[in-house]
C-alpha cells in the first residue's frame, strides 16, 4: 500500500508538473484528490489493513495528499501566470503604429522669439509698453531729435498719412510717449510693428517688428547698457556668446552704438553666416540724447538712461536659420507648423 501511495505521489507530481493550463491541473486534482480519485480509493481500501498498519498508512496518505495539494497550489499559480502571459500576448499591439492625431497649433516664430525676449526683460524688472502704429510725426521724429533733413523722414523711407501723421518707422516713439507720462525710474521694452517704404525682398519688408528698450534712472551708464545687452545676448544665443559695441549714430542717442554678437555659428572664427567677420550686427543702442530727455520733461542733469532697438525679424531669422524674410509673412502652413 505504501508503495502504491508513493507511486501515486510520483505520478501526480509528474502530471502536475506537466500541466500548463488551468484545465489540466483541475483534471489532475480530480483524478488524485477527488471523491472518486486515487487517494479516495486508498482511503476506501484502508479498512482492509491491520490496526497497526492503518495509522502508518493513514499518515503517509495524508502526507501524500498534502504534497499533491501543495504541488497543485504551486502549479495553479504558475498556470495563472501562464494565463496572464497568454492574455497579454493575445492583446499585443503594434506600438510602432502612429499615435492618434491630437491637433496642436503653433505660435508664429516671431511670437515665440518675441515672448522669449519679453520674458528676459520682464525677468529684469521691465514692463512692456505699447503705443500706436499710426503715429504723429511729433513722436516718431521731432521728439526723438531727428534733424528736419534726416533722410529717414523722406517719403521714400516713411509712409505718410498726412503731413503730421505717419506709420511709425520705429518703436522709438514709444520711448517719448512713456517718458512724457512717467517719472523715472523707467524700465520698459516696447515691441511692435513698424513700417518702412521698402519693397519686400529676402531681407526687407514694408512691415516688420522691433523691440525697443529704455531705461532711465539716476547714474545710468554705458557700462550698464553693456551688461544689460550682454545678459540679453547670452540668454538668447547661449552663455558662450560675447558682444561688442561699435560706434554709430542715431539722432536720439549720444553716444550711439551698434551691438554685434560673436557669430553663433563659427564662434568668431569667420564663416559665410557672419561674412567672415566673426561678428553679426544685432541691434542699435546708446545713451538717451539729452535733447530727447529735455523734450520729454526729464532733466538730463539729474537723470540719464540708455535705449536700444532690436529687429525681431533679424533675430528670428538667425534663430531658426531662415534665409528669406518673406517666409515670415507668407503664412504657408507647412512653414508655420515647423516651430
Amino acid at each position: 500500500m505504501k508503495e502504491k501511495l508513493e507511486q501515486i505521489l510520483a505520478q501526480a507530481l509528474d502530471e502536475i508538473q506537466a500541466a500548463e493550463a488551468k484545465e489540466a491541473l483541475e483534471a489532475a486534482r480530480v483524478r488524485y484528490l477527488g471523491k472518486k480519485g486515487e487517494l479516495a480509493a486508498i482511503w476506501k481500501g484502508m479498512g482492509q489493513l491491520s490496526a497497526q498498519e492503518r495509522p502508518v498508512i493513514g499518515q503517509i496518505a495524508n502526507e501524500v495528499r498534502g504534497k499533491i495539494e501543495a504541488a497543485i497550489e504551486e502549479a495553479g499559480q504558475r498556470a495563472a501566470e501562464y494565463e496572464m502571459e497568454r492574455k497579454l500576448r493575445r492583446e499585443r499591439l503594434d506600438v510602432t503604429l502612429p499615435g492618434k492625431k491630437i491637433p496642436i497649433g503653433k505660435k508664429h516664430p516671431l511670437t515665440t522669439v518675441l515672448d522669449e525676449v519679453t520674458d528676459i526683460f520682464v525677468g529684469m524688472g521691465y514692463s512692456v509698453a505699447e503705443g500706436p502704429e499710426v503715429e504723429l510725426v511729433h513722436y516718431n521724429f521731432d521728439m526723438l531729435n531727428a534733424p528736419k533733413t534726416h533722410p529717414s523722414r523722406e517719403p521714400s523711407d516713411t509712409f505718410y498719412i498726412s503731413d503730421d501723421i505717419v506709420l511709425r518707422t520705429q518703436t522709438s516713439p514709444m520711448q517719448a510717449r512713456v517718458m512724457e507720462k512717467t517719472q523715472p525710474p523707467i524700465r520698459i521694452i516696447a515691441p511692435g510693428r513698424v513700417f518702412r517704404n521698402d519693397e519686400a525682398d529676402a531681407t526687407h519688408s514694408p512691415m516688420f517688428h522691433q523691440i525697443e528698450g529704455l531705461v532711465i534712472d539716476k547714474n545710468v551708464t554705458m557700462g550698464d547698457l553693456k551688461s544689460t545687452l550682454e545678459t540679453f545676448a547670452k540668454t538668447l544665443y547661449g552663455e558662450e556668446t560675447s558682444i561688442r559695441l561699435r560706434p554709430s549714430y542715431f539722432p536720439f542717442t549720444e553716444p550711439s552704438a551698434e551691438m554685434d554678437i560673436s557669430c553663433f555659428k563659427c564662434h568668431g572664427k569667420g564663416c559665410p553666416m557672419c561674412k567672415y567677420e566673426g561678428w553679426i550686427e544685432v541691434l542699435g543702442c546708446g545713451m538717451v540724447h539729452p535733447n530727447v530727455l529735455r523734450a520729454c520733461g526729464i532733466d538730463p542733469e539729474e537723470y540719464s538712461g540708455f535705449a536700444f532697438g532690436v529687429g525681431l525679424e533679424r533675430i528670428t531669422l538667425f534663430r531658426y536659420k531662415i534665409d528669406d524674410l518673406r517666409l515670415l509673412f507668407e503664412n504657408d502652413e507647412r512653414f508655420l507648423k515647423q516651430f
Binding site: 514692463s127 501723421i165 510693428r193 554705458m222 557700462g223 561699435r246 554709430s248 540724447h289 539729452p290 507647412r334
Partner: protein, 905 residues
Amino acid sequence: MKLPYSWLKDFTDIGIETISPKQYAADMTMAGTMVGSWDNAADEISGVVIGTVTEMERHPNSDHMWVCQVDVGEAEPVQIVTGAWNVHVGDRVPAALHKAKLPGGVTIEKGKLRGVASNGMLCSLKELNLEERDVPEAAIVPAALLNDYHPLDADKPSIPADIQPGAKVFGAVVAAKALRVESAGYGRFALTLDAGDKTVEAETGCSNIHTGDLVAYNTKNGAVLTPDDLRAQQAEFPHCIRDGILILPAEYAGENGTDVCAALGIDETVFDFDILHNRPDCLSIIGLARESAATFEKEFHLEEPVIGKTEGDIRDHLSVEIKDADLCPRYCAAMAKNITIQPSPKWMRDRLRASGVRPINNIVDITNYVMLEYGQPMHAFDYKCIDGGKIIVRRCAADEKCTTLDGQTRALWENTLVIADPTKAVAIAGVMGGENSEITENTGMIVFESAMFDSVSVRTTSRRLGMRTEASGRFERGVNSEGCLRALKRACQLVEQLGAGQIIGGIIDEYPNPKPVRVLKLEPEKVNALIGADVPREFMVKTLEKLAFTVEGDKVTVPSWRDDMEGTADIAEEVARYYGYDKIPTTLLTGQTTKGGLTQRQKFSRLVNEACNAVGYNEARTLSFMSPKAFEKIGLAEDDVRRKTVVITNPLGKDQSLLRTTPLPAMLEVAARNYNFRAQSIHLYEQSKVYLPKLDDKGNVDAEQLPEERTVLVMATYGEDFYHLKGCLEAIFTMLSVNVCEFAPCETNPSYHSGRCAAIYAKGDLLGYVGQIHPTVLKNYDIGAELYMAEVDLEKLFALVDKERYYKPIPKYPATTRDLAVVCDDKLYVLQLENEIRKAAGKALDKLELFDVYRGAQVSEGKKSVAFSLELRSPDHTLTGDETDAIMQKIISALETAFGATLRL
C-alpha cells in the same frame, strides 16, 4: 565715400604696408568711421605685363587676324594672335601671358588660333575693366577699310568687291591702297597711298590701317574716311570698330615685362566708407584722413593752398550779389583766363576713377577733385555766358525754367534757389549747373563757385526735380561754410598746377553772417558718469585735440566742420570711441528696482495664442495693408463703414495703399495661397490689428487724427465644417474664462453664407462672427474649398473675462438623467428650444445636451426631431420620480405652447 589709399597718404601716413587693409578697416570701424568694404582693382588682374610689338604679319588662315611678336622683356619675344586691327609694330600693349588672370575670373591659356600658336592675349580697355574715359589717349577711331566691306545685300553692293586703287567710291572719294603706315606720334599715323594714277602722302588718326589695306581717300581734302563718313552701318565694316587693343600712351611709363596695373594706375586699394549722417565732414578725403590719423595716432598734414602768380583783378570782371542770404549764407568766387580745355593728367584721372567719379576734362575734373578732397561742392561757369559779369543768388520766380547740364529743360518751382545773371538762371543752386554756362572746348574764361547753400532748400529742390548729384547730396547733409574759401583756393592752385589757365587776382567772398564759433564745456566727471568709466582728463584733451578741437581750461572750441557737437554727451562719444567702447567695464544696473511684468491685457494676448494653439490652430502674421479692391472682393455694401479707411499718401502700390479695417482680406489671401500650395486643410489664426479712422460730422475720414487701433482674433479653416470652428471658438472662450458668449443666426453679413453664419454676442453686444465664407467671396479669391472663418473683437472679449472664479461645491445628491425628443418645425433653431427648456426647467436643470437632430422618413416633411439629454438635480435631496416627471411635463408643455413641438414617441 570712397577713399583711395594713395590719396589718404597725401595727408597722413598710417603705414598700411604694416597693418593690412583688413586691420585698417577694423580699427577705423571700431573708432566710429565704418569701412563697408575695400577693394583693389589690380587684385583681379595678374600676369598681364607691358609688351612692345616687334613684328606683325597677317594670319595665314584668317581674313581678320594678325600674328604678333611681342617683346615682354624676355630673351625671346612671345607670339600672340590678335583679332584687333589697331595694333602696329612699335606699340606698347598690355599682354596677358599664359595663365594670366583678368577681371571677372577669366584665365588666359595658351593655345592655337586657326592653327597658329598664340601664347597669350593682347588686352583691350574693357578686358581690364576700364573705359575710354579712364585712358582718353587710347580712344580708337577706325578708318573704313574697303577690304573689310561686307555689303548688306550681296546682290547690290555699294562698293564693288574687286574695287581697285583709284576707282571712285563717290564724289571726290576714291579707293587707295596703303603702301606705308608709320606712327607720327600722339596717336597719328603717316600714310603713303596708292590712289591709282598717283601716289599721295596723307595723315590720319585712324589706327586700324596697315600696309596693303584699301582705304577711302578724299582727294579734295586728303582725309581718310571712317565708316561714319561713308554713312555706313557697322555691319558693313564688321572689323572697323571703335574698339581694339589698349595702346599704352607714352606717359604710361613702364619697362617691357613689368606689371601693367602699376602703369595704368589701377593698383590702388580703395576703402569704401559708410559715413554716418551726423558726420558730413567725413564725406571728404581730408575728413577721413583726420579720423585715420587720430585712430592710428599719426601726424596729420594739411597745407593751406597757395596760388602763385595772378593777373588782373576779379572785381574788374565779376560781381556777386546774394539776394537770399537765408538760403545762401556764403558765396565765394574766383576766376581764371586763357583756359585750355583738355583731359586732366593721369594721376588726377586715376584718383577720380578710383573714387567712382568719371573724368571729363581738366576744369570739371578739378571741381570734382576738390569736392572729394575737401567735401566742398564746386562749380565752374563759362564766364562769357554770364551776362554783365554779375552773379545773383536768388529765389526764382514762378515761371522760370533752366536747361541743366544733362540737356533737360526743367520748369522750376517758385522759390527754388538759382544762380543767375541779370537776364537768366545759369544754375540750380547746389544741384546742377545750367547748359547755358557749361564748360566746353571753347571756354576761355571761367568762374569757380564755392558756396554754402541751405540743406533743406537743396533737398527740396533735388527731390522735386528728381536730381540727386554728388553735390546736392553733400549740401543736403550740410556743408561747412567756413570751408568755402580754402576749397576755392585749392581749385585755383590745381588750375595752375595743371597748366589749365591763368588765375585772375583776388577772390570774391560774400559772407554776410559768419558762422559763430561754438564753445563747449569740458566736464570730465560728467563724461565719465555717462560712459561709466574712469577716463583721465588728459586722455580726453588729447583725443579732442587730435580731432582739431582746441581745449583751454574747461573750454572746448569746436572746429567749424563739427556741427554735430552740442554738449557733454557729444564729447563723451568722441572720448568713448577713441578710448574704446570695448574698454568700458560692464556694470550692473543699480538704483531703484522696478516692478515690471506683463499687464493683464498682455497676458490675455498670450493666453489667446495658447488657446488657439490648443485647438490646433497655427498662428499667422500678415501685413497691415489692404487693397481698395478688397471691399468688392469681400462683398461689402457701398455704405459699409469698413470702407472708411486710413489712406497712405505714398504707398508701395495701390494694393498696399490702405490700412485694414477688417481682418478678412489678408486672411483670405493666406487661405488662397495655402490652397494654391495644395494644402488639404488649413487651421490658421491671427491676432490681427485693424485701424479704424476717426470720422468727422459728415462721416468722412479725418486724416488729421490718429485712428483707433483694435485687435481682432481671426480664424480660418477648410477641410473642417462649421461645427468644428464653432466648437473651437467655444473651447477658446472657455480657456479664456469668457462664459457669456451666445451664437445667433446671422443672414445679413455679406462676406458669409447667409444660412451658415452666426453672430457672436455677449450681454447683447456684438463680438464678431463665425461662419462659412460666401461662395462668391471664395470665387473672388480663387479658393475651391468651403472656407470657414471667425472674427472676434479681442478688446471686447478681454472685458468679458470672468475674473471672479470661485469654488462651487461638488453636488452631494445624484442627478436624474432623462432623454427628451421632440418633433418641431424644421426652421426652428435649436437655440430657441434650448432657451425654452432652460426657462421651463429652472434651477433643477443641471446639464442640457443635444444628442441628435433627425430629418427624414420617420418625421413628416418640414419637420425635424431634436433629441436632448437632460440632467436634473436638486442641491438638497435626490429628486423623486414624481418630481422629475413633473419637471419634464412642464418642459414638454412649454415647448408645445411656444413652438407647437410635440413629444416624439
